[in-house]
Amino acid sequence: MSANTAVAEKYRNNFLKEIEEQVEMGDWVKMCMQCGVCSGSCPTNFQSAWEHPPQELFMMIRAGKREEVLTSSSMWNCTSCYNCIVRCPRKLPITHIMHGIAEYAHRLGMAPKMQPTRFFSGLFWKNCTNTGRVNELKLSMGLYFKDGFVQGIKNGMAMQAVALGLVKAKRLNVMELFSGHKCKDQKGIQAMLKKAYEIERSRKAAKMAG
């Protein structure tokens, strides 16, 4: 893409159209009137923790800032509290749009790899779809060691008291590290998931085809 084409793409509807087609509830993005009530209402947005709050993301989409939007960590911060949806004067389903964009970025492989919520989501998904049950010990250890072995040990040490308490209260079984419990029909679960992926693929293909 030449520099000139890049400018020509800016503020054009191309990226907005892409979002409308590819992202769940993406066709609402154009309805934003930039009042900012979503950005102000977000409880996780303390001290401007988000690089781009929802209303700004919407403007960036309209400005054609594809790369910046899809590689952003911002939409991954959404905790689905629904404050923004309740207050939005244009009734945009902002929470769903955030998840939609995040999912789309993930699908394209553009999402920031080590963004904690994204990492956790992946970990959680793998963890629970593997055996049909969530293995809490593996899940939390996976999360501790996200940023490497040394950091993992440090995180583990920091949470030591909590872990011991859980063990004492029989809420955590160290043996889970080796096998872990499973659901009764593990094969059945896998089959169901396979089918679900298939359905999703065909639905998306249909949507792309118009």
């Binding site: 000139n4 400018v7 020509a8 800016k10 503020y11 054009r12 509807n13 907005l16 154009k30 309805m31 009137m33 930039q34 209303q55 700004e56 403007m59 960036m60 309209r62 400005a63 800032k65 244009r90």
Partner: protein, 743 residues
């Protein structure tokens, strides 16, 4: 003044009987007021009291009534004697309610009341009940100048009301600006898509109405006369002139789009692919006539991307372009973006705005555009750079904080320039002498009035002929001539149609009242009018120059000619006249002067100063009244006379008062200047100009400048006025008594 019989009635109700010696007041009326009939009553405003007065009118031949009771603003239903001359001595709000009920105060309070009785008697004797204007016109025809939506609507609505209309349009066809539109902004639910302009229907209504006479290719060559009897010469293209008798006029001369060639930085005039909103309408009409595709003017290629630049040459604080917002352009750009989106959703349409202004249900229209995929970007366009067939729009994206945002390869740029009113000649700006080598562009008069003060309706600001009054949007400064539509104020079609309907009513009202000799707003219904005693006139022209409504012309010998139905009865002419030959039947130099002279001035050893207050009856007097209602006390030494307007102030009153031994004179008028609050527009300002020369008078009399005090007053100064009065009274004590007492 034959056969007048004056009666004075003094009320004892509302505590007047307890606080005042009303028997003494009756005696004052008889002795000092010299009225043949003086009575007191326990409760004058009740049925029995009013019946007593009515009986005296019927059986005793009473013609002039002096009521000593409450303020002239109170009990108006009870004391309603439209056939008689009536004066009200304000003993309640003006005396007992502003004085403490103490033994020490009793004497000064009584003196105050007695003076008001003397003043009331003197005033009523100097008055006559207005007999009405004998020189009335009775034309019931409306002249509408301009054949656009506003003018056509005015004509249709007036005709529907039963009045004949003459409509003059300068071009060869009716329709105006709106006929050049492809579609208009919707005015009904649902506010979702552009609607038919409705111009065709209006045109056929006008043309099909036998009550409406249309002149095309015609202009107003001359407008002579006054409401009810205008004589208008209409010049047509053929050179023929037609004369019409007209009762009232609605000027609906519309607007011209601000010239985009003045905006080269936005590409105006630099590329055929940069157009104004009119240009886009033309493209849309051309498209509708063809395949529905809006094409690039330069090469006829279909427009794939279009950018609308809002506020182009508007909201400009630097003074280079228009300072105001034209109000309609946001909705228009939204509508025009829909032209593209409705035809082909794939066209990129972007509206770059700083504040999107879609009031009321316009918000639905905005939402609808978003649904259709119109892109809205909050930004400020810095530059439009045409480059071949396309342009680059450079702007500051205010949301993303990007100062060098840009859109390249834009097929078409639409500049939302604003409305410039077609208001004719600005009669208040002296024509500048043409500079050498330049061609002077003289604005062309719309009405060509033969009025002494100039050929067109005075403008308010930025060329608009709007009213300055929020409560009274139709008040132009030319009686019986109303302006409507975008010449009055920037507006869209929906508002213009509403405006036209309102203006039609005002015009009809003006001609009906002109026939009855009744004044127009704000003294609506007043039957008095200025009479000039020409024998005494020195042809100084002050009245003809100062009249805020241009009511007075000059004859060939330069004597003033009052056009009664143009007059608003403010009395500015009367105040301006140095030889005091102008008067109204119920308001004159004498009705006020006699009151001033009727006041009993104690000698300098009595230590009872006298302060004359001349208070504007619209704002200052009600404020003083409400001070009374709130029982706020002020000095017993003031004697207040309401005047119609500070503009009616004749300096002789001040000279008379000072000569009579008053210690000070306070003038209370409304705010003047750019943000004036005077109901007679220039009245308070002219009064103040006159006052500024009072120092010379004071010097001649060898008096201190403190003796005259001008106070700018608002109706809300209920607490402030008593404070100011008391402060002034104290200052006067320091200055010392007037040396003119006892002469």
């Amino acid at each position: 003044m034959a056969d007048i019989k004056v009666a004075a009635y003094i009320c004892k109700g509302c505590g007047l009987g307890e606080r005042l010696d009303t028997d003494a007041l009756v005696k004052v009326a008889q002795k000092d007021g010299k009225v043949p009939l003086a009575k007191s009553h326990d409760f004058l405003c009740n049925a029995e009291g009013v019946a007593m007065i009515r009986n005296d009118i019927a059986n005793e031949g009473v013609t002039h009534i002096m009521i000593g009771a409450c303020s002239r603003r109170a009990k108006t239903e009870a004391f309603y004697f439209p056939e008689n001359a009536v004066a009200r001595a304000n003993l309640r709000e003006g005396v007992i309610w502003i004085r403490p009920d103490t033994d020490e105060a009793r004497e000064t309070t009584q003196e105050m009341a007695e003076d008001y009785i003397r003043m009331g008697c003197a005033e009523v004797k100097a008055m006559t009940a207005p007999g009405g204007n004998p020189v009335t016109g009775s034309s019931k025809t409306l002249l509408v100048v301009g054949g656009g939506v506003t003018g056509m609507t005015t004509a249709i609505e007036a005709s529907k009301t039963g009045y004949p209309v003459v409509l003059v349009e300068k071009t060869g066809a009716l329709g105006g600006w709106a006929s050049k539109l492809y579609k208009r902004v919707p005015v009904h639910e649902p506010y979702k898509s552009p609607a038919d302009t409705g111009v065709g229907e209006l045109v056929s209504q006008v043309l099909g109405d036998s009550n409406i006479k249309v002149y095309l290719n015609a202009t107003i060559a001359k407008t002579d006369g006054a409401p009810g009897r205008f004589i208008v010469d209409i010049a047509t293209e053929s050179g023929a002139t037609h004369t019409e008798d007209i009762g009232a006029i609605v000027q609906a001369s519309g607007f011209t789009l601000y010239d985009m060639n003045k905006l080269p930085e936005l590409g105006g005039g630099k590329s055929p692919n940069v157009v104004d909103q009119a240009g886009l309408e033309a493209l849309a009409i051309a498209a509708a006539a063809g395949d529905g595709v809006i094409r690039r003017p330069s090469d006829g290629q279909p427009v794939k991307s279009v950018v609308f630049v809002q506020c182009a040459g508007q909201r400009d604080p630097t003074g280079t372009h228009l300072a105001y917002c034209s109000g309609y352009c946001c909705n228009t750009s939204i509508k025009q973006a829909m032209y593209f989106k409705d035809a082909n959703p794939a066209v990129d349409t972007t509206i770059i705005y700083t504040d999107l202004r879609t009031p009321g249900n316009g918000e639905d229209f905005y939402r609808s555009a978003q649904e259709k995929g119109v892109n809205f970007t909050k930004g400020k366009v810095v530059e439009v750079v045409p480059n071949g067939a396309t342009s680059t729009v450079k702007f500051h994206d205010l949301i993303l904080g990007d100062t060098s945002a840009a859109m390249a390869d834009v097929d078409l740029v639409v500049l939302a320039t604003g409305q410039v009113p077609n208001s004719g000649v600005n009669i208040e700006v002296p024509a500048a002498p043409a500079e050498a080598g330049t061609v002077e562009v003289k604005p062309i008069s719309i009405l060509n009035l033969t009025y002494r003060q100039g050929p067109d309706v005075p403008q308010l600001k930025q060329g608009f002929t709007d009213s300055h009054f929020i409560c009274f949007p139709y008040e132009t400064r030319r009686t019986g001539i109303y302006t409507a539509g975008p010449v009055r104020r920037p507006m869209d079609i929906a508002q213009a149609r509403e405006d036209a309907t309102g203006a039609a009513l005002k015009a009809i009202q003006a001609l009906e009242n002109a026939e009855l000799g009744r004044a127009a707003h704000p003294r609506s219904g007043d039957l008095s009018f200025p009479k000039v005693r020409l024998e005494g006139c020195t042809q100084c022209k002050r009245c003809t120059v100062e009249c805020p409504f241009g009511a007075i012309d000059e004859d060939e010998k330069r004597f003033p000619v009052v056009n009664e139905s143009r007059c608003r009865r403010c009395g500015t002419c009367m105040g301006a006249c140095p030889v005091r030959v102008i008067s109204f039947e119920n308001y004159s130099i004498n009705t006020v002067g006699a009151q001033i002279k009727a006041v009993d001035i104690p000698d300098e050893f009595a230590e009872k100063p006298r302060i004359l207050i001349l208070a504007c009856e619209n704002d200052a007097y009600p404020a003083l009244d409400m001070a009374g209602m709130n029982r706020i006390e002020y000095s017993a030494y003031v004697r207040t006379i309401p005047i119609r307007c500070l503009g009616s102030l004749n300096t002789i009153w001040i000279t008379d008062a000072l000569n009579a031994g008053y210690d000070g004179v306070m003038l209370m008028g409304c705010k003047s200047g750019d943000e004036y609050q005077c109901h007679f527009v220039k009245g308070s300002e002219l009064g103040r100009t006159r006052l500024s020369k009072i120092d010379d008078t004071l010097k001649t009399l060898n008096l201190e400048s403190e003796r005259v005090r001008d106070l700018e007053v608002a109706i809300t100064d209920i607490k402030r006025l008593p404070e100011m009065i008391n402060k002034y009274a104290a200052e006067l004590v320091a200055v010392g008594p007037s040396p003119f007492k006892g002469f």
